[in-house]
């Protein structure tokens, strides 16, 4: 039985007499939130008022020593935990106890263990179990900030976002909290996102004037800071691009008949071919246009999961891809698969079409790229060697193939695709409805 809770609810406890301006106030220990020592006197907090107890601090300490819920939390401070609503971990040594009416009291490391035991929790740092997004929110320093950051005055911004010395603004801290504040406003609003239909730049334009007031627009490109921080927050599932209702123009379409098969291309110029294959086989299509953006992947995955809601139970996800046969192509594919995992599509089977076996000897001999001689800053020797270890290049040479060579013979690529997908089709092609033919007929 939680006796402390019962006395707290019934407002009963040991009597305490308090000194007022013109007499005495008679209360009891259950109404007291805390008392602290001041020149041997006990200064008691009741509601939002403070009174001096008739008894000394030492006598008050003895009075509450056997009462459930009363704890020594810092030097010269006793707190009634029945009045405590929450705890804030400032770091792993210092904590703040917050009462139901918002009063704050220190909890020092020396007294931590008893309080932790009282609440019967593994730690007061965070709730266990807790989700990865919660972990990342704490790691990124996301906190509840009452005032709209865009309308904070400069001293307020320095107070909230500066370094310990107080002279420099930590821009990432400001931007992370700005983004979280914005998404919280959207979540609570019935109106939707104020930047619906915009893009990441729209968010940038909201915070840019604040950074300008802080004279922070000269040195670093903070648009990049914002888009990278936003990407990180999305990746850690703290928020999503969709919540901001940003415009997304990705080249993808979820198939009607065989949506679990994704036909992936690296280049925009191949999208029309993907559309033709989709009309024939009803598969999902996606052109990454180089490194796929996290935003595009999020929108794609949400649409995909709606179409194939329980794929992990019934369908294997198959990615048949048309990537360049080189380290770059492999990296793009890895990023795409990583992004799918972030947004909840896991363990796909991937089948590469652009591999030496699918090229003719003539193509391999005359159309290969010597990767050692290629001037590519992104691909150093280490990456190239790793790729060679995985693939053996072409006949052991550090050579690659641009997928465009294969795409010169589209019927062959289509045939390769159909052969690779054959055992995975749920509905055999040709499928009935040809979406792109319909679209192009309408738009002429």
């Amino acid at each position: 039985m939680q006796v402390g809770s019962i006395t707290h609810k019934l407002k009963t406890g040991k009597p305490v007499s308090l000194v007022t301006d013109n007499g005495f106030l008679f209360s009891n220990t259950s109404e007291l939130i805390a008392f602290r020592s001041d020149n041997k006197k006990a200064i008691c907090s009741i509601g939002d008022k403070k009174y001096t107890a008739v008894k000394s601090y030492n006598d008050m300490r003895k009075l509450v020593s056997s009462l459930p819920g009363w704890f020594h939390t810092a030097s010269g401070l006793r707190v009634n935990l029945n009045h405590i609503a929450s705890v804030i971990a400032k770091n792993d040594k210092e904590y703040t106890l917050v009462s139901h009416n918002g009063l704050k009291f220190d909890l020092n490391k020396a007294f931590y263990e008893k309080v932790q035991k009282y609440y019967d929790v593994k730690t007061l740092q965070h709730v266990t179990p807790y989700s990865l997004p919660q972990y990342w929110m704490m790691k990124l320093g996301i906190r509840k900030i009452e005032k709209n950051i865009m309308y904070m005055k400069i001293p307020e911004l320095f107070k909230e976002f500066s370094t310990d010395a107080g002279d420099t603004i930590v821009v990432t801290d400001l931007i992370v909290n700005f983004l979280y504040q914005q998404v919280e406003y959207i979540r609570k609003s019935d109106e939707g996102s104020p930047i619906a239909g915009g893009n990441v730049r729209s968010l940038w334009y909201l915070i840019k004037p604040t950074l300008s007031r802080l004279d922070l627009l000269d040195a670093t490109n903070h648009y990049k800071t914002l888009s990278s921080v936003l990407g990180k927050m999305v990746e850690h599932r703290i928020l999503s691009y969709m919540e901001f209702e940003l415009y997304e123009y990705g080249l993808w379409n979820v198939g009607l008949y065989n949506p679990h098969i994704i036909f992936l291309a690296e280049k925009r110029s191949h999208f029309q071919f993907l559309q033709q294959v989709q009309d024939h086989a009803g598969v999902t299509i996606f052109a990454t246009e180089g490194q796929p953006s996290t935003m595009t992947c999020e929108y794609f995955c949400e649409a995909f999961k709606k179409k194939v809601p329980e794929y992990w139970k019934h369908d294997r996800i198959i990615i048949i891809n048309l990537m360049d046969y080189d380290p770059h192509g492999y990296m793009i594919l890895d990023t795409f698969i990583d992004n799918l995992r972030v947004f909840g599509i896991k363990h796909p089977t991937e089948i590469k079409l652009s591999i030496p076996e699918n090229y003719t000897d003539l193509e391999l001999e005359f159309q290969h790229i010597n990767l050692e001689k290629e001037d590519d800053d992104d691909v150093g020797n280490t990456i190239l060697n790793k790729w060679m270890k995985k693939t053996e290049g072409i006949n052991g040479n550090k050579w690659g193939m641009e997928v465009d060579v294969m795409m010169l013979d589209r019927p062959r690529v289509k045939e390769l695709f159909l052969a690779a997908a054959e055992s995975w089709f749920k509905i055999q092609p040709p499928v009935q409805r040809k979406i792109w033919e319909e679209v192009y007929r309408i738009i002429g």
Binding site: H8, S86, P129, I142
Partner: protein, 137 residues
């Protein structure tokens, strides 16, 4: 002990139980705080994707990364909690009314005292037991 005295003690215990739960507070995480919620202040708990949502008697909602089954185990020694439905664990001390949620009586719903707008569901499978708890049977 004479029977009358035992009965009185049982009654006293039941009354005390109404006032406060015998269990420790439930913790929930907000952006920068760990919040303590007394079990007697909870109206009901429901699920939302991979989280549970605790609705307190003041109408606040608190998310916790946990399962309803784990929460049910945690609260099983508190007689106020009842698993009314696959997706609901309710504090039946806080229930104000029970009513048919559809014409056929396949879905039953409860409303709560306090500032709570939301309703909780009672499955037909658990309806009989719930009626017993509420002394309707």
């Amino acid at each position: 002990m004479p029977r009358k005295k035992t009965e009185n003690l049982d009654l006293l215990l039941a009354l005390l139980m109404r006032i406060a739960s015998p269990l420790k507070s439930i913790t929930v995480q907000t952006t920068d705080e760990m919040v303590f919620i007394r079990p007697e202040d909870i109206a009901f708990i429901t699920t939302d994707e991979k989280r549970i949502v605790i609705h307190d008697l003041e109408g606040n909602k608190w998310a916790r990364f946990d399962s309803l089954a784990a929460m049910e185990r945690k609260l099983e020694k508190d007689p106020r909690f009842f698993r009314s439905h696959r997706s609901f664990l309710i504090n039946h001390f806080a229930v104000k009314s029970l009513y048919k949620g559809d014409a056929k009586g396949k879905v039953w719903k409860v409303k709560f005292h306090g500032a709570i707008q939301e309703e909780a569901m009672v499955s037909t499978l658990n309806l009989q037991e719930f009626k017993k708890l509420m002394e309707l049977d």
